[in-house]
Symmetry: C2
Subunit: 397 residues, 2 copies
């Protein structure tokens, strides 16, 4: 190695090298990412990087555009988050360095996406201009642009994209009542299977944790569309057609999230749209087997990782509350009042804690799921979604 200049200059060079070496290696914090996560700060276009072992905020990352209804997914190594914004932005954040490391405006309006089974692709579903775009997770290079156009040539908003086993993405076409399955084994030439007339206006969707059942909510009629990916030849079936049957609905204050369905053992718990109830559905027959009355219109209905309790948050004006349902007895056992505007909840991977965002108090609170004690409170700017990195290993995200 040779260095320019006189000895003192040499010293300065060496000191500089010592200081920048770690930065060049991108290694300011070499740490396990398995206990990290991100909180969306919806009003400021920023996210907070957090860790759940000691319940800390580690960094804030800014410049992510319009995050008013944002979601995110993780790279397979858990290091990077891919964040989907309402401005059509796809942002890539490095949790270790706390930096925005990539950003493309890939459409006009997007609220969701998914990482492929092999981790190499990230798919983004677009409201505007419709369709799905597929990017390389490492470079954010555009690999495929799949327009959503029905047999009559009409374009459609795309919603509810989920990855499925076999290197597939499944998604719904809101305006043309279709569900498409894209096999992206050859990323630049996706092979599409189309299911038509699945029901009126699929508006959101989920896939079961095993990647077998894709379920889309229908905005234009009561009920849901179900595709069994183990038996694609059977086509899409309608389930829960009596979801709201014969009873006058109250106004829907906030569309419930299908991603907020809870799968606990052989049961699914789901928000009853426009009603103060949580529905219980048998996952074999897809028939309703019970209802639990709750304090307001449910938004997210989430199962603890052990399936023992179900946590529920609510639409305005009841969104200061959270209620807990005991699965064995199917009864409400707790009502908490964390504060104004509880937007989202996330469990630590083994379920000992629940994190929830209290938007209008600019706080994230951490509760013990066994004692219901509040353990910590962290500052965040108008927080909404909370996402821990163990999602990197889950099918459908």
């Amino acid at each position: 190695m040779s260095f320019p200049g006189n000895p003192s200059r040499r010293s300065a060079w060496l000191l500089l090298a010592g200081l920048i070496w770690p930065t060049l290696q991108g290694c300011a914090p070499a740490r396990g990412v398995g206990d990290m996560g991100i909180v969306i700060e919806r009003a400021s276009g920023s996210v907070a990087v957090v860790e759940n072992s000691h319940m800390n905020v580690l960094a804030r990352v800014e410049g992510l555009g319009d995050l008013s209804h944002a979601s995110l997914v993780y790279s397979r190594d858990g290091r990077y988050a891919f964040i989907f914004g309402r401005d059509g932005g796809l942002s890539k954040v490095d949790l270790l360095s706390g930096q925005l490391v990539g950003r493309v405006i890939q459409g006009g309006n997007s609220i969701g996406g998914s990482v492929s089974q092999d981790g190499r692709l990230v798919a983004v579903a677009n409201y505007q201009p419709g369709g799905v775009k597929i990017f390389a997770t490492d470079t954010l290079e555009l690999l495929a642009d799949i327009p959503a156009v029905d047999a009559k040539g009409k374009t459609s908003k795309v919603v509810g994209v989920a990855d499925a086993p076999g290197q597939k993405f499944v998604y719904s076409l809101f305006d043309s009542d279709e569900i498409w399955v894209a096999d992206v084994s050859q990323p630049t030439t996706p092979r599409i299977t189309k299911y038509t007339n699945v029901g009126s206006k699929p508006y959101d969707a989920l896939i079961s944790p095993d990647g077998r059942h894709y379920i889309a909510g229908l905005f234009g009629e009561d009920g849901f569309a179900l595709l069994d990916l183990w038996h694609p030849e059977q086509g899409v079936k309608r389930i829960l057609n009596n979801y709201g049957r014969g009873e006058k609905r109250t106004a829907v204050h906030k569309m419930p999230h299908l991603r907020g369905w809870a799968m606990a053992g052989n049961l699914a718990f789901l928000p009853a749209m426009g009603r103060h109830e949580v529905l219980i559905v048998d996952r074999e027959s897809w028939q309703e087997v019970g209802r639990v009355p709750v304090i307001g219109q449910p938004v997210f209905v989430m199962a603890q990782p052990d399936g023992r309790q179900i946590w529920v948050n609510f639409a305005h004006p009841d969104n200061g509350n959270v209620q807990v349902i005991d699965v064995p007895s199917r009864k409400l056992i707790k009502t908490l009042t964390p504060g104004p505007g509880v937007m989202h909840m996330e469990f630590t991977p083994r379920g000992e804690h629940l994190w929830l965002s209290v938007r209008d108090a600019d706080r994230v609170d951490v509760y013990h799921t066994g004692t219901f004690e509040r353990l910590a409170t962290l500052p965040a700017l108008k927080p909404s979604g909370i996402f821990f990195t163990n999602r990197a290993h889950k099918i459908g995200l």
Copy 2:
């Protein structure tokens, strides 16, 4: 900052500082740990640190003692592995630096352990001298030593330790036919609940992925002992009492692993001890509902993360084979012959690949679970167990 000596010495100091700074930060590779793992090299007391995104060996860590039947668990951040050896050693390995960062000889012989729900404790089950010891995951400080002594004062080997929701460890006493549940909410003063007369000689155990059902295999009789942790007041029940009933067993060439049970949807697939069969059991009734004939005595029976296929390896002399069962049809669909001494298998978190160790060929092979194509082969010294870091987020490990 001041430095000793003349300018050239100063330069040397600075250069040294530049070189060691990254090391001091332990940051040689700052990377996500979510796609990393460890392969046990049983004969050499070493482990290979691997990554499954590009299928590489990253480092070898030596000096871990007798790993002839070793297993491991991960810290909640996925960075550290806790490895349990037959010499009673508890070793802590940093996957990022590829270094052994802690080691205690905590007993005379141990084959398993578990990390608590909150990630702060690691429990080790001892054959010799029996009992369970509980250590802090950060320092390896001994926090509790729980002897396994029955009502008559007899000590027992301890097997099958698993973590359970509510900051508990569950384990079996081989010599006194008991199952104990230790609540370690106060780590230095565990509260023990004891179940006696659970069946003759519990020799291994598993806990269901939701942490609800603890199942111990019985060496001294046909059948299994089941504890429903949602209903501990019901005590331990005997299940599958006809496991081998009325039929002459062949000699058991290798004890099947209960951790090798596969839970796929509402079914469990398990090795039939001493027989060339995989049993299918309904998880509601715990009754046998079918059997699949296979090529040899099954050792590990493992479900893909999507529950669609079951992979089986075998005891000597059939341990060069691996067979695949299709879950919907319950039929064998594939026989692979990877090579001599297939010891263990591990799926990538979303199930696109299966890694398996071919001990006698000093290889780890990677197969595509959809095409059954062999994608890669990696060198390893007499490899046995393969463990990916997504285990950090699973209940019971």
